[in-house]
């Protein structure tokens, strides 16, 4: 009843409902934006645009599946779309062993640092890594979303893992956080 009513009010453009929905979802979706964006500032922009898109398209939500899932997908798609239209998916070396072994000593690495190294990844590596590792999309789905091939997706992922691993190891070696 509660959330459903809130969504319905949002569909009728009640600003109060929209604010509530924003308050409800913003922390989660901001986390999503942080992961998928290049920087915190970018993430803030993306969050703002994404929410506007959510409010604009909320009429299309048919109460099938979780709303949060839907909102998250809108958000991710918005970011992908943005980077796509900006045409800044850099060309990256495509050939990379797909099954690179990436092991790290997972001691206590602060969240801030992990976020920072994810954000520092080249755009497409970051997208692929996030989509695959954190949000559980398959390579096939990712390939469709990013307009690349399965193989590219796999090799991008491997590259991303390598870069992240290196950065984590550097940090562990020096214990000097280079984050932010």
């Amino acid at each position: 009843m509660g959330l459903e009513q809130l969504i319905k009010d949002c569909q009728e453009n009640s600003i109060k409902a929209q604010e509530q929905l924003y308050r409800l979802l913003a922390p989660k979706l901001f986390a999503v934006c942080l992961k998928y964006s290049r920087s915190r500032v970018d993430a803030e922009d993306n969050l703002q645009d994404g929410f506007l898109l959510i409010f604009k398209k909320i009429g299309q939500y048919r109460f099938e599946g979780s709303f949060e899932g839907w909102a998250k997908r809108v958000m991710v798609n918005n970011v992908l779309q943005k980077y796509r239209t900006e045409g800044i998916f850099e060309i990256v070396t495509e050939n990379m062993p797909e099954e690179a072994e990436v092991e790290i000593e997972a001691d206590d690495i602060p969240m801030d640092y992990l976020m920072a190294i994810i954000q520092q990844l080249p755009d497409r590596y970051r997208m692929v890594f996030n989509l695959y590792v954190i949000d559980g999309y398959s390579h096939k789905e990712i390939a469709a979303m990013l307009n690349i091939t399965d193989g590219t997706s796999k090799s991008n992922l491997a590259r991303a893992r390598m870069i992240l691993k290196e950065k984590i190891e550097t940090r562990q070696g020096n214990t000097i956080p280079t984050a932010k």
Partner: protein, 617 residues
């Protein structure tokens, strides 16, 4: 392989429940944009209204033409109907009138969320100052809440009815502390509320006796039962849980308002969720860094601090904070189902939305994923739509008549069915309203039976242009008064011939229509109304004799080079692929002003079954 998982898992675990509050100005920006958009939307609403009104008017017009075929007397009636019909329409559609009802809710909730804002800040402050402290630090929140809530009166504490849900080992220490501060709940007028479930672990009992705080759970009249039945995944039970749980906070409220109030409170929880998130976050990041899966397994030890105003003014000052302070390993869950269940209840009551959503999502992930994604993909809806189309056209007249000559009015006529084809362009102004245009070719032919014709040098057929050589005169059979001239140009022997007369007209049609979507899903239904401009590009009258002789008579002289039609129709569409739709649109088009003179009471119309495949971009 397993090593590779390490880095994946590291990130998965770290990011799984990661949340972060965006800066406040983002909402301000969003609101600004939303409000601006709202203002701009005023026009489309009128557009929508007028669009629907226009369609109705046209429907009526054509309908009335259809029914009362010949006389023009009916026109005043048409106008009357219009005026009565149109004003009635806005009443039906005005969308904004629906609001007040829900606003009542929203108002309440809004106010509360303001308050919870305050408390969030409190929590924030806590989190930052006690950054690295152990879990216990978080639990001292109830103390803090009482002071900064804008109330400087020191005796405030005495009204504090703190609620701490169940302890693990860690919490016990805190419980005792809380007892000291919170015990003052002598006012707590919840006598019947101490119904602890059988499943409650002894730890709960301990804290119970210490202070009244377990009322959050105990007070819940439906909670325990429901939780046993559907511990996870059931949204509804979750909501009611939360609702009731917070109800216990505003004491006076509870007594008077009962269940009705609970919906409001439930909504309030949405606002409060932020707090939870903050508190949770801090706990996860600073004190713990530990098992993120904890939330799912029920290892959280959420504590609810409730500050309530006992003066009976039923002000809801409740601030729900959630301090996530567990350091016990996940193994805890296995100790007993009952414990988990109560823990679930607690989570449900304290952390609205989050877990449930997540679990739901996980459950449905397999099935709904695709669907949702398709939805999300379509989020960028395409405004433009191009549609090659083809339509069998059925030509007819609403009345007996003949534009060639009144004498043929009574003759039987056969109307040819033809094929119209062209391209349509649609532009979606809003989700519901589409403006349509395009270009179609159109041939409208009919045959007048039972005529005779002959060649003549000094006579000609009415309304048909004279030819350079002998004219063909067409008249009703048996008219007599025939002075046929023979001429050989057409190998026609002198004489009269029985046969039929064919009038062919060709047009280029440019419609301007508006479509209103009644149904807008994979399968959609539109109402379409508008006008077409028809440009004459083919004009010919010919005759065919029963013997098979055929000859041109000439061009009809009374056809306007431009005329119009009023169009009404229904559109059916089916989206079979992302941007592709199959369309089927039966349209009724009534021609207006086709003839410049002597229309002979001929009231042509045609019905086109337009079908095509549209591509949107």
């Amino acid at each position: 392989m397993s090593e590779r998982k390490n880095i994946d898992r590291l990130f998965q675990e770290k990011f799984k429940d990661f949340e972060e509050n965006p800066p406040e100005f983002i909402w301000d920006n969003i609101r600004e944009e939303l409000e601006e958009k709202k203002k701009r939307r005023v026009i489309p609403i009128w557009l929508r209204l007028s669009g629907v009104a226009a369609i109705l008017v046209m429907g009526l017009l054509t309908g009335i033409y259809f029914i009362n075929s010949s006389t023009t007397n009916n026109n005043p009636v048409v106008i009357d109907e219009n005026t009565t019909q149109t004003p009635a329409e806005p009443l039906k559609i005005l969308p904004t009138d629906k609001r007040p009802k829900s606003d009542i809710n929203a108002d309440n909730v809004y106010d509360r969320s303001e308050k919870s804002d305050i408390s969030r800040r409190i929590v924030d402050a806590d989190g930052e100052s006690k950054n690295d402290g152990p879990a216990a630090v978080e639990n001292s929140n109830p103390l803090k809440n009482s002071t900064p809530d804008g109330n400087a009166v020191p005796s405030r504490n005495s009204y504090n009815k703190g609620t701490v849900a169940y302890g693990s080992k860690k919490n016990e220490a805190n419980d005792t502390r809380l007892t000291g501060t919170v015990n003052n709940a002598q006012n707590s007028p919840l006598p019947n509320n101490n119904v602890t479930t059988a499943g409650n672990a002894s730890k709960n009992e301990v804290s119970n006796s210490g202070n009244m705080h377990n009322s959050a759970v105990a007070h819940n009249p439906t909670g325990p039962a429901k939780n046993n039945g559907a511990p996870y995944g059931d949204k509804k039970s979750n909501f009611s849980n939360r609702a009731v749980a917070t109800n216990s906070a505003p004491v006076s409220d509870n007594k008077s308002a009962g269940i009705v109030e609970s919906t409001n409170v439930a909504l309030q929880n949405f606002a409060n969720k932020n707090n939870n998130a903050v508190a949770n976050n801090k706990a996860a990041v600073t004190t713990n860094g530990g098992p993120i899966g904890a939330i799912k397994t029920g290892n959280d030890n959420p504590s609810v601090a409730t500050v309530s105003n006992t003066k009976g003014t039923s002000l809801n000052n409740s601030a729900v904070t959630n301090a996530n302070s567990n350091t016990t390993p996940p193994a805890n869950v296995d100790k007993g189902i009952s414990l988990t269940e109560t823990a679930i209840a607690a989570i449900d009551t304290v952390k609205p939305e989050n877990e449930l959503e997540k679990l739901l999502k996980e459950k449905e992930a397999g099935k709904k994923e695709e669907k949702d994604k398709a939805l999300a993909d379509n989020v960028k809806t395409n405004k433009w739509n191009v549609k090659p189309q083809l339509a069998p056209v059925f030509y007819n007249s609403l009345s007996q008549g003949s534009p060639i000559d009144g004498q043929f009015a009574g003759n039987s006529k056969s109307y040819e069915n033809d094929l119209s084809y062209g391209v349509g362009v649609n532009y979606a102004i809003t989700k519901k309203i589409t403006i349509r245009s395009g270009v179609n070719t159109l041939n409208l032919n009919y045959e007048t039976q039972g005529v005779e014709f002959y060649a003549s040098l000094n006579k000609s057929t009415t309304n048909v242009a004279a030819r350079t050589n002998a004219n063909i005169v067409v008249q009703n059979q048996g008219t007599g008064n025939v002075t046929p001239n023979a001429f050989f140009e057409n190998q026609l022997p002198a004489g009269t011939f029985n046969g039929s007369m064919m009038q062919k007209t060709g047009y280029v049609e440019v419609p301007v229509e508006m479509a209103y979507a009644l149904l807008d899903k994979k399968f959609g239904i539109d109402i379409i109304g508008g006008v077409s401009t028809l440009f004459l590009n083919g004009n010919n009258v010919s005759v065919v004799s029963t013997q098979g002789y055929t000859t041109n008579v000439g061009q009809a002289q009374n056809l306007n080079s431009i005329h119009f039609s009023t169009n009404v129709g229904v559109g059916f569409k089916y989206r079979f692929f992302k941007s592709f739709e199959a369309n089927f649109e039966p349209m009724f088009k009534y021609q207006v002003n086709t003839f410049s003179r002597d229309s002979g009471n001929f009231k042509p119309y045609f019905i086109g079954l337009y079908s095509g495949i549209s591509f949107s971009f």
